[in-house]
């Protein structure tokens, strides 16, 4: 809760600017409130409730979710969530439906940032990768199955 309101208003304090110039910019303790409840949730619904207060999301074709059909290596699966077609994107969360703790990562955007993120995540088995986009107070989602296989002769 503190994290989001910090972003909206009181962000670019003089202290932050000085810190950058001194090469010392590091997340302050106010920002670093890691949402351990969300990250230890064992279901997608619980994780989303912990992050957004709700787990109901509407499927949206405006979210471009790029994920491989078959992951070459489940531990390094490249995922891109492009919600730039949607206005007012506040945050994006990426979940792995069958990971022991589904919530993988969550991004919050100030107006200076676009609703876009590309990263590499760990998928423990074949499952759906779920991208949740919060825009204008509403939750939207896109998901895709990613097959994760055991290696063959490559070991």
């Amino acid at each position: 809760m503190k994290r989001r309101s910090f972003l909206k208003g009181t962000l670019a304090t003089g202290a932050t600017v000085v810190a950058v110039n001194a090469g010392l910019l590091t997340p302050t303790t106010v920002l670093a409130e890691w949402n351990s409840k969300a990250f230890s949730s064992k279901t997608t619904e619980d994780a989303l409730s912990s992050v957004f207060g709700s787990s109901t999301a509407t499927a949206s074709s405006d979210i471009k979710l790029k994920a491989p059909a078959i992951a070459e290596n489940g531990a390094v699966t490249p995922i891109t969530v492009d919600a730039t077609a949607i206005s007012g994107v506040e945050s994006i969360a990426i979940l792995g439906s069958k990971n022991p703790m589904p919530l993988v990562c969550e991004y919050t955007f100030a107006p200076a940032a676009l609703g876009f993120v590309s990263t590499r995540i760990k998928l423990g088995q074949t499952m759906n990768v779920v991208a949740i986009v919060k825009a204008d107070g509403k939750l939207l989602k896109a998901e895709q199955e990613v097959k994760v296989t055991i290696g063959g002769c490559g070991g």
């Binding site: 491989p68 059909a69 078959i70 992951a71 070459e72 290596n73 531990a75 390094v76 699966t77 490249p78 891109t80 590309s118 590499r120 296989t149 055991i150 290696g151 063959g152 002769c153 490559g154 070991g155």
Partner: protein, 276 residues
């Protein structure tokens, strides 16, 4: 056309593997047959593209590989290799060209005086021991990092291995025989998977083609989450097919590298590379 080439290649190979008529082996003819075989097998893939390994066979895999190569994890290794190389620069300049971009493409080559195939990693360690320095391990770590630094500086240069004497031809033939000989619990030869069945899947791994096999080493394997040399991979693959591996930089593996590199003559060096 395809079947004839297939038969010709496997027949030609098995005949020569058992015969002692080494004089009839022509590396350039082999290589041309190799390239023609892959061209016939996949008319849509040009020989130059094979430097990208198994990724040429699947758009899904290629997209994942491109995502990784966009900001590849081996960048640190290249920097570390550069630091290591410069640390002992005085020593290395006694053995190698002062222009680091001119080093990688020279290897492997056949040394007529010692009658042995010399690999890049072998040359690096020999340079060290000749100067009284401790040699590096053969599979990963500093040797791979320096190899990565030198490969990266030679990116785009063409592989040009020469076989110019009877002794060199013997080494080439030894490598070729190894490549074609079935071994291990599964009785598989390198050729069986990486020529006959390249592009097909062994369980969930797509088999890469032997054409272009050596161009991208040292390799950052997602599985290892670090860099490894060609001989590390030879050892690993042999273990995968339940065959007794040889020692990295043993004569057997050096001859194999010699043969494999020759088959990739004309292709571009694209190491270090990211692979699964």
């Amino acid at each position: 056309m395809k079947k004839t080439l297939l038969i010709a290649l496997s027949l030609g190979v098995s005949v020569l593997a058992t015969s002692s008529m080494a004089a009839t082996i022509d590396p350039e003819k082999d290589r041309q047959q190799f390239v023609d075989f892959f061209k016939a097998k996949n008319p849509n893939i040009t020989p130059e593209e094979y430097v990208n390994g198994a990724y040429v066979y699947s758009a899904d895999k290629m997209a994942q590989w491109e995502a990784a190569e966009e900001f590849p994890p081996y960048l640190d290794a290249i920097d570390e290799g550069e630091a290591l190389y410069n640390k002992d620069l005085a020593i290395y300049q006694l053995c190698f060209d002062s222009d680091v971009s001119k080093i990688r493409a020279k290897y492997p080559y056949f040394d007529e005086s010692t009658k042995q195939v010399v690999t890049l990693e072998g040359a690096i360690n020999k340079c060290r021991t000749d100067a009284g320095l401790k040699p590096y391990g053969w599979k990963k770590g500093p040797i791979a990092q320096i190899s990565a630094y030198l490969a990266d500086n030679a990116r785009g240069q063409k592989i040009d291995v020469k076989v110019e004497s009877d002794a060199a031809l013997a080494a080439y033939t030894a490598g070729r025989d190894f490549f074609n000989k079935p071994r291990g619990q599964f009785n598989l030869s390198c050729a069986k998977c990486h020529v006959d069945n390249s592009g097909r899947n062994a369980r969930s791994n797509t088999l890469s083609s032997a054409l272009g096999h050596t161009t991208h080493f040292p390799v950052f394997r997602a599985k290892w989450q670090n860099l490894g040399t060609l001989h590390r991979r030879y050892e690993g693959c042999q273990k995968n097919i339940r065959a007794q591996p040889y020692k990295p930089q043993s004569e057997t593996y050096r001859n194999l590298e010699f043969f494999q590199a020759y088959m990739s003559n004309g292709l571009e060096i694209n190491g270090p590379g990211y692979r699964e």
